[in-house]
Amino acid sequence: MEEIKDIKLETETDLDIFGNTAKIKIIVTPDKFYVIPEQGLQEKISFDLKRIEGFNIRQTVGSAFFQIKIDGQYIDILRFSNANRYKFTRLITQIQNLKAGLPFSNEILNQPHPLLCPKCGFPLQTEGEKCQNCLQQGAILLRVFSLLSEHIGWIFIIFFLMIIGVVLSLVPPRITKILVDEVLTTKKHVDWLPYLVIILIASEFIRAQINMLVGTISTSVGTLITNSLRKKLFEKLEELSLNYYDINSIGTIMTRFSSDVEAFHGFVTQAGQGFLLNIFMLIGIGIMLFSINWLLALYVMIPIPFVIFGTLIFWRGVYPKYFKVWDSQAKLSTFLNNVLSGIKTVKAFSQEEREFKRFTFYADNLKDTVRTVNINISVFNPLMTFLFGLGGLIVWYAGGKNVLEGKLTLGELMAFLSYIGMFYTPLTHLTLLSTWFSNFTTASHRIFEVLDTEPQVKEPKKVVKIARLKGEIEFKNVSFGYDPYQPILKNISFKIEPGETVGIVGKSGSGKTTIINLLCKFYDIQEGEILIDGKNIKEITSYELRKHIGLVLQEPFLFRGTIAENISYGKPDATFEEIINAAKIANAHEFIMKFPNGYDTLLGERGAGLSGGEKQRITIARAILCDPPILILDEATSSVDTESEKKIQDALSALWKGRTTIIIAHRLSTLREADKIIVIDNGRVVEIGNHMELMEKRGIYYNLIVMQTQLASIDGALIK
């Protein structure tokens, strides 16, 4: 084997080109690119670096190929599992740097995967997040207690009341003993009867009052904590960048709000009325039992291992079955939601029978899972009752013998039996403590995970107030990809002068909307810079920036509320006059006034009750009302009919006068009057000019126009 000298980059892959597990070395020198298999079926190859025209990663299902471009053709030369994708993306950049004589690094290739904690190797939910494994359980509990600290006074009161409650619950059996021994059997103190009964009533009454108080306080504290946690979570979710919502489904986030936050409520309730109470009860009763008769108390302990063992076995078996019940319930409700929302389609295609069969499947599944769990519980509960009873039976036998032998009084036996009745239930609860505790810490982890997430878009530390923007926009060598491995925008540059109307055109997926997303700072760019009025948008906070940008999207989004509230969403202090003016400019006034309640008409979820065009005109009125110096229209008319489009067009042309306007339009005819048209293709700016200039150029824009004209003439012919 020839000795390779002057190695600049070196790494390895885990698969050969055929998909077999293999160890293949990749070595890059200033002149050559080597593929050297140490295992697998692949052959050794090498290429002159000069001959390689480019590099690419071709993603397939479950793995990816590293490609080199030779003589205009991309060739798969290496294969790797997805775990190595990050490494090979870095390799491309490093080779390109090496070829261009720029600084490169071999260390960067073998750095740990950004989805793994560099300290312990445990996976992270998303890149850059805190490692849950490194956050110790104790640390989690400390944080939980820090959340509880605001209510520490109440927590002490609960604690104090609970101890009194436990002491009081130990009183009745003691009184029973006195009643039996001193009053009923020996008749020594017959006159004590009414007082003892009064003590019994009083202790029960005070205990009931204390329980009520503990319940009320712990529920109040629980709901207060839940409420403040929800507020903190919502605040955080508003702060987080859009990429967080790309990664996490709305369903998952909703779960954080509902069940995970409720777990905190559960923690306080459980702590107050569950495990702490049970611990005190066990200790208190234990003391009582041993103080009455230590030997008999030891007999009581006999069933304890069986109770603990039985409970653990049962929960290990049944707990996963509960998951299945929840899963079946979720599937059934998802199915119902789906079918009932699309009931019109179901009926239109006469699919009622098929949907009924599908419903039956989900309903039967739920029935089976619920039945399994309930049967298990039905078996478990009597078994536990039997075990508890066993303790009582032992005491009846041994204690009864002691009574007959005069070693124990009847009153003591009665008290003993009462205490036993109170002894085993807390024990079963405490056995499940670990399950409950682990569920609680999991929920806490999930909540802290959101609270600890840093927004992807970094905000400047210094907030600079902007009075009014002129509207000059410049993109300088901007590159960006939602998935950093696959850039959508590749080194794009263009400038828009203040007050200009600019169209952005290109095929679907070419990167038009991405430009808007970056301009609005919904995402941070990965390379290059965006300047507004000569200022880098990284130096302007998102909040301050967006105050000066009006955005009308393809899918108009209206909130539940009145039409007036929806129009004034961006300017809540707008006067009635301003709202009406905005609606008039947006050609919305006319249809709004047809509703009996005019501007006070309450809109349903997502603007239910309005047509697509009507919804869009309300969102335009919303943008007009804010009077932004920069207006962005992202396919604002593509989802409406021709008549609505005409009205929206009229509304929009009134809107873009005197402000920088960026229009992404599907129908190119709307851009004829634009000062400038930027043509994007495959993430690159390929043409810039006005309509006439680009038509003369006979490039991509010209072809798009010709294609649309031909389609329009076909439509015309069909109409004729």
């Binding site: 698969l15 597990t21 071709r58 479950g62 053709q73 798969d76 599992s81 849950q132 996963p320």
Partner: protein
Amino acid sequence: MNPKKEYLTPENIKIFKGEFNTINVYLVEEEILYKGVFVVSCFPISNPYNFISIFYQKETGEVEEIGIIKDISIFSEEEKKLILETLNKHYFSYEIRRIIDIRWKFGFLLFVVETDKGERQFYLKWERSRAIEIGKRGKILIDIFEDRYVIPDVQKLTPIEKNLFTRFIYW
């Protein structure tokens, strides 16, 4: 895709081996040679070996469909072999033969398994979307790096393995 061609057949294309383990396709009528094509199944789960789409990669790196092979069996043995080899290159997964252990920690499941490619450990986010059905009784597990692990038939796992598996992947 060429709209004139309904499907690709041995009459209208020739498939042969190219350089560096690639395959090339020659469109007979149009007299066009596409080098280094790759193939993708239209129905990778329900009908993986029919309706196979052939793509080529342009100089820009973009890919475009040449056409679809409806029925692979009508091609010569050699061509069929080339298509299947290329098709299999597009899909990669580890087939789980035995589940050794599954442990839950902070919302992740650590799987220790024996696969067709040896023993492996992987982390799976404990979410429904990461364990999806394949066929009537199989499951695909997609780990944190998007690597795929297939259990062809959950029912064929041993009772202990099945119990362990369905304890976490209960859907």
